[in-house]
Symmetry: C2
Subunit: 226 residues, 2 copies
DNA sequence: TGCCTAACCAATCATATATTGGTTAAATCC
DNA sequence: GGATTTAACCAATATATGATTGGTTAGGCA
């Protein structure tokens, strides 16, 4: 009975002496047995207790590590893109991006707005669809960056990556041509102005209206393809 | 001059004959040289043109592939967690999750609601903080799943993964204790009821209020730590 | 000058070997 | 007899090695 707790005590003493930083790996179980002078079974009991206590985590083939187990990532872009479709992506954009625009209106600096205007200028001067799409992407990302919230930017990037993968997979318009419809230009202008004037409500509304138009165009083109 | 275009023509003919599906790999450059009977330089010119045209993409060590280059992922959970903090994460939750709740109210099935009620039951019966947190997580994820939108679920998972990494990194409450404050229980109940009644406005508002309380608690505990 | 050829480079893949936590069962010890 | 040690084995992972790939450069050649 004392033995069972003894291994844990020895292990704790060993770790306290080293004072290892988080995520650092400690020796393999077989080595620790020799170091601490305990049997592997007792050592594993102690390790199990500390793992249950979230003081360390173990994995076959990897080893034993200080701290809490890292989370598994279901954020694989390609995997998401496989499971979804343009409709879901546009719906997600309609829910997320207006909220980002509202937050951008609150936090945007003069530099952020200048960046947005530069993107708009480039999109107006675009000679090919590819250039236009790049500028459009850059503008939307500039809005996300204007929130000055790393998590929101990361979420936007994820959503954007999924969008590009899915859309490109479906309709492959090889013909590069300048955009004929200029409805986006006016909407972008209104969006940036709302952000500049710190009008959260207008920023959100404008973004929502803009994405609704994009959604409508996407729907129309898919119908035309049928 | 005819030679330069000739390699491209031959390559196009070769690809048209095979009619390879997207993302499929085509032979290595050195093999293609023999197959098409052109020099590697000419072949690479043709490949460069088609790559510029987004008809294929190449990468050292991998090969040459049909279609457009897959997007790079900035969705590394650990990387995001390194750059952010609990405040940004809570802010992002306050912007995203109410929108998800609204959408859930529109699309939830009876099975979805039953799943939510099960999560609530488990959270009420939780004996430790860990159990409570797991049930709470499961409930919020059930709401996301009720949107029946793969992209929204994936974004929620990403946000949730970042949240757990960041929060766990900061405050490590080793002491497992049952939750003393029951304010979340009533809020969860109201949230699920709003979703069940398809009241988008109430669902969004309830989720926002709930997260505001969570944010308040997090702020209070961090102040207490100082 | 323009093209071909060959060689080389760094990134990546493919394969084999070693290591690690997890498990089981016989041996051993009070 | 029950608990513990010990050894062997397993699947997952890491590590090391060699082959392959796109990218690049330099010399030969027409």
């Amino acid at each position: 009975m004392d033995q069972g707790q003894g291994a844990l005590t020895q292990l704790r003493a060993y770790l306290a002496q080293r004072d290892l930083p988080a995520n650092s790996r400690l020796p393999a179980e077989r080595e620790l047995c020799d170091i601490l002078g305990v049997s592997r079974g007792e050592l594993r009991k102690a390790l199990a207790i500390m793992e249950e206590n979230r003081e360390l985590w173990r994995h076959v083939g990897k080893g034993t590590f200080i701290g809490s187990r890292p989370v598994e990532e279901f954020s694989n872009i390609a995997a998401i893109a496989e499971l979804t479709n343009p409709r879901e992506v546009m719906q997600a954009r309609l829910l997320i991006e207006p909220q980002i625009a509202r937050e951008a209106a609150l936090n945007a600096t003069a530099g952020d707005v200048a960046e947005m205007r530069l993107c708009m200028k480039m999109s107006r001067e675009a000679k090919t669809w590819r250039q236009y799409e790049n500028s459009d992407n850059a503008l939307h990302r500039a809005v996300a960056e204007a929130t000055h919230n790393t998590v929101l930017v990361a979420l936007f990037d994820t959503l954007n990556a999924v969008r590009r993968t899915v859309v490109w997979g479906r309709l492959r318009s090889k013909v590069d041509r300048p955009p004929s419809d200029h409805h986006s230009f006016a909407e972008h202008e209104a969006l940036v102005r709302a952000i500049e004037e710190r009008d959260m409500e207008a920023a959100g509304q404008t973004m929502r209206r803009h994405l609704s138009h994009v959604q409508g165009n996407l729907l129309a083109s898919s119908q035309a393809a049928e």
